[in-house]
Symmetry: C2
Subunit: 172 residues, 2 copies
Amino acid sequence: MIDSATIEEQRASKNNELSELEVEAIEMFINFLKLIGLPKSVGEIYGLLFVSPRPLAMDTIMERLDISLGAASQGLKLLRNLGAVKAVYSPGERRDHFVADLELSKFATVFIKEELKPRMERGLERIKRMEEILPTLSPADRKVTAARIERLRHWLDKGQKMLPWIMKFLLR
Amino acid sequence: MIDSATIEEQRASKNNELSELEVEAIEMFINFLKLIGLPKSVGEIYGLLFVSPRPLAMDTIMERLDISLGAASQGLKLLRNLGAVKAVYSPGERRDHFVADLELSKFATVFIKEELKPRMERGLERIKRMEEILPTLSPADRKVTAARIERLRHWLDKGQKMLPWIMKFLLR
DNA sequence: AATGCATTTCATTTTTTCTTGAAATGAATG
DNA sequence: CATTCATTTCAAGAAAAAATGAAATGCATT
């Protein structure tokens, strides 16, 4: 009785439960990718692919993670754009299969290039504009404010000097 | 007519419009603090305080940013907990006044300490668990998977080695 | 070129996160 | 010690972000 119930369950779910190992990997990547602003489903997909010894088709991914068609498609697209997932051709198979690119540094470098750097550049533009406004302030306020803007610039400069260094460290 | 309308407007809004300079600073901090997961209102508050030559009371902040009591209170509390804002005592004044701590590195170091480091530590625990599971896999899969876990560990190690270095750079 | 599958797109729904404001708490003043 | 003003808390509402799934598109096969 108990056995047959268990078998039924496995039938019903097509043996699709995630293994303990997969769960660990998935949770890990959900957490890390959340850090750079990626949604849960993207972390799930990458985590599953990361520990999968062979390429997975989109519908397999959907079933095993229990996510929708749309989420799977969009998530894979995003990951491919980041360079974190690649589509591989399996001979004789009609549908695409996907593998994780194991170069984890990609997440960090993409984040730096697309999020951090642009913000810093826009920050420097803002600082320029702020400095242009400065002369319209009262002399007392001007002095205080100028010093603060200077400090902002100092931090942005420091940040910009750090980035190449971090990039180099990541890529090596 | 036009003049009196303008004056009316200024009366109505109690001369509370943000200056161009304040807007620049506020937008800048909204953008940067969003990066570390802080809500807009927190960026607004910090930005306003950052360019304010003198301490501001909570109700001033509310009025000038046009945010609610709750948002102002919670935002200030959060910023104080981060160490990014300090309450200063103004003699004769009943209510607290707030100033920005200009040490911008605090945002980065808090982020590293409270977000990055804990995740990395939990990541290493997960890796240990994954390695314990490894022997239950088929020999073929085991080899592939072991290599990937090894790679994960490599990246976490690299990250953990980087952090103290980054911290040192930020603090100096 | 028609059919059948695989993938993408996108309007809608769901979930999560942020903000609001009224009530509770606290703290200074008369 | 009662009153008034300042701040915190938190349930409810609003806004933003993510997920869903049906319809559209694309593409290989017959």
